[in-house]
């Protein structure tokens, strides 16, 4: 009896598969794992300069993301292990942990993660179908709905911050609802002590606050915003990158660069996309600063503050939310760079990178439609030899 006569009675003994039978070794799981591992240097640097708050944020986000994914998976009746094996939620959690303020109370980060996984990702159809970058969307969700807590829980970086913002100290602030001001000042004081080498003065604590405010105050970008409104941006002193707090930004930038180079080496992100992003960003920032110094500030500060490097290596290269075609990806990165520079000058929020990414994400389908690849055989003429 052969297979056509069997009418389904004979069981198929031979294995059946669709061609091709060979497979390359790269899988989605591996891609996500490599992205996650490449973020580890930045994570360590962040703990070094911002304290263990970052670590707890990562734990919060990861656990919440895992629970959300399980919930979605149960709703959609998928195989749990298979559904969770793509690890993309871990990357989302890691990027969220690196972008959220380190001393943010636990419920805020939980809400942000739930928003990222359920509303931004799962509602649109899960991995690969979301229009917006989940981490950036969740960050913006928090920035818009509770701007004050985002400002008050932000820590001014200092070397060896993990000494003050230790595991237990940050637990008190993040989970037990203690006022973050105290811890913030203690971390800031590390900068002071580093600069003045006056440990005893630090121990007194109380009289130091005035001194601290004079040095740091709000973040640099906030300061820029206020001075821009007063049209005094060109009078603002340039950030001194030799100070210890600004070293944190340089260290973070280097960590992201290392991670990005790992990704480029593993062919997970496109070099030309990263290259285009930074080139167009540099050109725009330098040219505009040159002509309008009262509105746009300098390229180095532009680059180092506010997570532009994270954006260039990790956010815009997210394959799901950027444009689909090869040409479209180039245009996408130029658009993102342009939006960052413009929004920094005219936007009312200082978290311009997230907004710029969201706007360019929204444009990505349009870019997809407008760019298409030339088909095979164009330029052929009959008898062309």
């Amino acid at each position: 009896m052969n297979i056509s006569e069997s009418k389904g009675v004979v069981r198929q003994i031979l294995g059946l598969e669709t061609a091709p039978h060979l497979k390359a070794s790269m899988t989605t799981q591996k891609i996500m794992l490599i992205v996650l591992l490449s973020l580890i240097p930045a994570f360590i640097v962040a703990i070094f300069y911002f304290g263990f708050g970052v670590f707890w944020q990562f734990v919060n986000c990861t656990v919440t993301a895992l629970i959300c994914e399980c919930f979605v998976c149960l709703l959609r009746r998928r195989n749990l292990l298979h559904y969770l094996s793509d690890l993309s939620y871990l990357v989302t959690a890691m990027i969220l942990a690196l972008t959220l303020p380190p001393l943010l109370p636990v419920y805020y980060s939980v809400i942000a993660t739930v928003f990222a996984i359920i509303v931004v990702k799962a509602v649109f159809g899960g991995l690969g179908h979301n229009i917006f970058n989940p981490a950036m969307a969740a960050f913006i969700f928090l920035v818009i709905s509770c701007p004050k807590i985002m400002g008050t829980t932000w820590v001014v970086p200092a070397p060896f911050a993990y000494g003050q913002a230790s595991l237990s100290a940050t637990v008190d602030v993040i989970y037990k609802g203690e006022d973050p001001e105290n811890l913030k000042h203690l971390v800031e004081a590390l900068n002071l002590s580093d600069n003045s080498n006056d440990k005893e003065e630090l121990q007194q604590g109380q009289g130091i606050l005035e001194k601290l405010d004079a040095i740091t105050g709000a973040t640099f970008l906030e300061k820029v915003k206020t001075s821009r409104k007063a049209k005094t941006l060109n009078e603002l002193t340039e950030a001194d990158f030799s100070t210890s707090q600004n070293q944190a930004y340089i260290a973070l930038a280097i960590a992201y660069l290392v991670g990005g180079l790992i990704l480029i080496g593993c062919r997970i992100i496109l070099f030309r996309m990263v290259f285009t992003f930074f080139t167009s960003f540099a050109v725009l920032a330098i040219v505009l600063h040159h002509f309008y110094p009262s509105v746009f500030y300098t390229f180095t500060e532009n680059l180092l503050y506010g997570g532009v490097i994270l954006c260039g290596f990790y956010i815009i290269t997210d394959p799901v939310t950027n444009a689909g075609t090869a040409k479209g990806r180039i245009y996408f990165s130029i658009l993102a760079a342009f939006l960052i520079v413009i929004l920094r000058a005219f936007g009312s929020y200082s978290d311009t990178v997230a907004f710029a990414v969201m706007l360019s994400n929204a444009c990505a389908p349009l870019i997809d439609v407008l760019t298409h690849r030339r088909s095979f055989g164009i330029g052929y003429k009959k008898g062309d030899l």
Partner: protein
């Protein structure tokens, strides 16, 4: 050396084609000498590619055939097929084809007698002085098709290069790339029979007279390159090209060798470039110099689960089972038997299928050597597929359109340019069966295209019918109006008359009518002897013919088993007769004027009576002509197996019954009931 481009090609410039992948090579068998397989116990030769619409089978069941004897006369773009060993034809029936879904089609089965007698070889020894037509006719009649896998008819390719190309063939490329992993049969042929291939190239050179002849070989076949370089001196230049899959596909190879991208809607031979596989060239040489028809080919048998691997020369029609048992397959659980290479080959649903000209490899890998495919995950639009596609497509866009059965959009994305090379599915990190979906999409689009063509034809027919009906309606209307006018006029005339006049006119009309009727009767009686006699003769012949046909029809239907019910038989007779008469009438419609047509219809009634008075001679048996016995009623057509490949993604089936849990289901009125 006319153009600078040709100069560049001759100088050995190599271009790069877009995309491509570098899969693991698996070519362990490149050092295995070509063996020859014994004669199998049964040979099955599929006819689907060797018959064509008007083709004929030359042999019958029970005939004895010798090796090399043609079995079919092909029509159209098909070539005949030859018996691959001597023996008796045991059946001409539907057998399973080497197809991923296990379709059946007409095959000739030969029971070999073991003697392997050959038809006498008929070499063309003076091929250098023979004209092209003879050589091309020989190539066609000896059943030579492309042995690379696409099975394009070689003679048609050469002829179109000679006729359709603007100034003849410019570049002849001999394809020895063999980019597909695991296959080494072309490699071995080049190593062992380089001089024969060189002779074959010389024949093609003689036919095509190309400016440049290039033998393209990938740089992982060192021995083959050496052998070919020695053998092809003066005939062709050997060009070593980088090893990238799929460099062996015709258009990609043309891009590598000449830098020209030939669009997919143009035949490569039409732009003066001919690409032929080394195996085909060898077959051309054997057909012309040795006079042997194409009855065997070299295939690679490889895979971890074989006791020994190697290259083997098999007769066409040998079953895969025979090859597997000869090479000692030690199957694992759900052993995959892949016909063709690991990139473009397909898993066989059954191993009782014959080797055809298209088969180049039998691969039985262990799941360690080639892991089984995993369950697919969501596409993350990483764009790897677009980066490797040699046809410059964006596969994941095409996939999503096809998945949403948005066929027009899929067309626009360029599904027609897809060669199903499998590079996209190879690199996909989410294990999406892109190639399978595209194969499905292509099949669906072909189906839609054919349905559209049918619809257009039906529409045309309906429009014509409507037009005709409309015209008839108009004619009828006109006639009716005329008649009404006549009656009206008569009534008006009658109304004016006095009663006497009226009576007189009526009397007159009556007399006139009587006289007319009498005259007609006389004319009929008088004419019946002379003109009608001939007519009756004609018509009796017609009736005779109709009756004969009828008897035949009854005979046939009796044979087929329709005629058990006598009532049905009578009805069938009447219907058939009425139909025949109608047909006869239709046939004469054009030669009779309109007025006579009615009379002709009346006359058939009288003829009908004559027919029934005659005695039908049931004793004479009429030979069956035309229709052959059809056993479709007793044996209804076999249910076709579900096309496994056409199920675009086998894994998706699990996802489809994806329902909300009971708790979350909204309770409707119906569910309360």
């Amino acid at each position: 050396m006319a153009t600078p481009l040709l100069q560049k090609i001759a100088n050995g410039k190599i271009w790069k084609f877009f995309g491509g992948i570098k899969p693991q090579e698996l070519k362990d068998t490149s050092n295995c000498v070509i063996e020859t397989l014994k004669i199998p116990s049964l040979i099955t030769i599929p006819l689907s590619r060797h018959l064509g619409p008007e083709g004929e089978i030359l042999v019958n069941v029970g005939d004895h055939v010798k090796r090399g004897q043609p079995l079919t006369v092909a029509s159209g773009r098909y070539v005949p097929v030859h018996a691959s060993t001597s023996g008796t034809i045991s059946a001409i029936s539907k057998e399973v084809l080497p197809h991923p879904s296990g379709y059946t089609d007409l095959c000739i089965s030969i029971k070999p007698d073991g003697l392997d007698e050959c038809e006498p070889y008929n070499p063309i020894s003076n091929w250098e002085s023979v004209d092209n037509n003879t050589l091309l006719e020989r190539i066609r009649s000896y059943g030579i098709e492309g042995l690379g896998g696409a099975v394009f008819q070689t003679e048609a390719k050469l002829r179109s290069a000679l006729d359709d190309a603007k100034d003849g063939c410019k570049v002849l490329i001999i394809n020895g790339c063999e980019c597909e992993p695991a296959i080494t049969c072309d490699d071995r042929i080049m190593q062992e029979q380089a001089t024969d291939i060189a002779k074959g190239i010389a024949i093609l050179n003689k036919i095509l007279k190309p400016t440049v002849t290039v033998v393209a070989i990938e740089d992982n076949k060192h021995k083959a390159i050496q052998a070919m370089e020695v053998a092809c001196k003066g005939v062709a230049t050997v060009r070593v090209i980088p090893t990238i899959y799929p460099s062996g596909a015709a258009r990609n190879l043309i891009k590598i060798i000449t830098g020209i991208e030939v669009p997919y809607n143009v035949h490569t031979s039409e732009c003066g470039i001919v690409v032929d596989n080394v195996g085909t060239v060898l077959a051309v040489k054997e057909a012309i110099i040795d006079g042997k028809p194409l009855t065997e080919r070299v295939i690679t048998v490889t895979g971890d689960n074989f006791k020994h691997q190697g290259n083997v020369r098999v007769r066409l029609g040998t079953s895969v089972r025979f090859i597997l048992s000869n090479f000692g397959l030690n199957p694992e659980y759900h052993q995959r038997v892949i016909l063709g290479g690991p990139m473009m080959g397909f898993t066989l649903p059954t191993i009782d299928v014959p080797i055809t000209k298209a088969a180049s490899c039998v691969l039985a890998p262990s799941s360690k050597q080639i892991p089984k495919l995993k369950q697919q995950t969501n596409c993350i639009r990483c764009g790897r597929c677009a980066r490797v596609c040699p046809s410059r497509l964006v596969p994941y866009q095409m996939y999503s359109q096809s998945k949403a059965s948005n066929h027009a959009a899929a067309q626009k994305c360029g599904i027609k340019d897809c060669t199903l090379c499998g590079a996209c599915a190879y690199v996909c990190p989410s294990f999406i069966p892109l190639t399978a979906q595209f194969r499905y999409e292509k099949a669906v689009e072909k189906h839609i295209y054919e349905a559209e063509k049918r619809n257009a034809r039906a529409k045309e027919r309906i429009a014509a019918k409507q037009q005709r009906l409309h015209e008839e309606e108009l004619a009828r209307q006109k006639k009716k109006e005329e008649a009404l006018a006549r009656i009206k006029a008569q009534k008006e005339a009658e109304a004016k008359m006095t009663p006497e006049e009226l009576q007189a006119s009526r009397q007159k009309a009556l007399e006139e009518a009587k006289a007319k009727a009498k005259a007609r009767k006389e004319a009929l009686l008088k004419g019946a002897t002379t003109p009608l006699s001939g007519e009756v003769n004609d018509e009796s012949q017609t009736v005779e013919r109709i009756k004969n046909q009828e008897r035949k029809a009854i005979e046939i239907s009796k044979h087929e088993g329709h005629m058990d019910n006598p009532l049905a038989k009578a009805r069938l007779e009447q219907e058939a007769l009425a139909k025949k008469l109608q047909q006869e009438k239709e046939a004469h419609k054009n030669d009779l004027p309109f007025n006579l047509r009615r009379q002709a219809a009346v006359r058939t009634d009288t003829l009908n009576i004559k027919y029934y008075e005659e005695v039908i001679d049931n004793n004479t048996t009429h030979a069956l002509v035309g229709l052959e016995p059809n056993d479709a009623l007793q044996n209804p057509e076999r249910k076709k197996p579900v096309a496994q490949v056409l199920m675009s993604a086998q894994f998706d089936k699990k996802v489809e019954n994806n329902k909300l849990p009971e708790v979350l289901k909204k309770k409707t009125l119906r569910s309360k009931k």
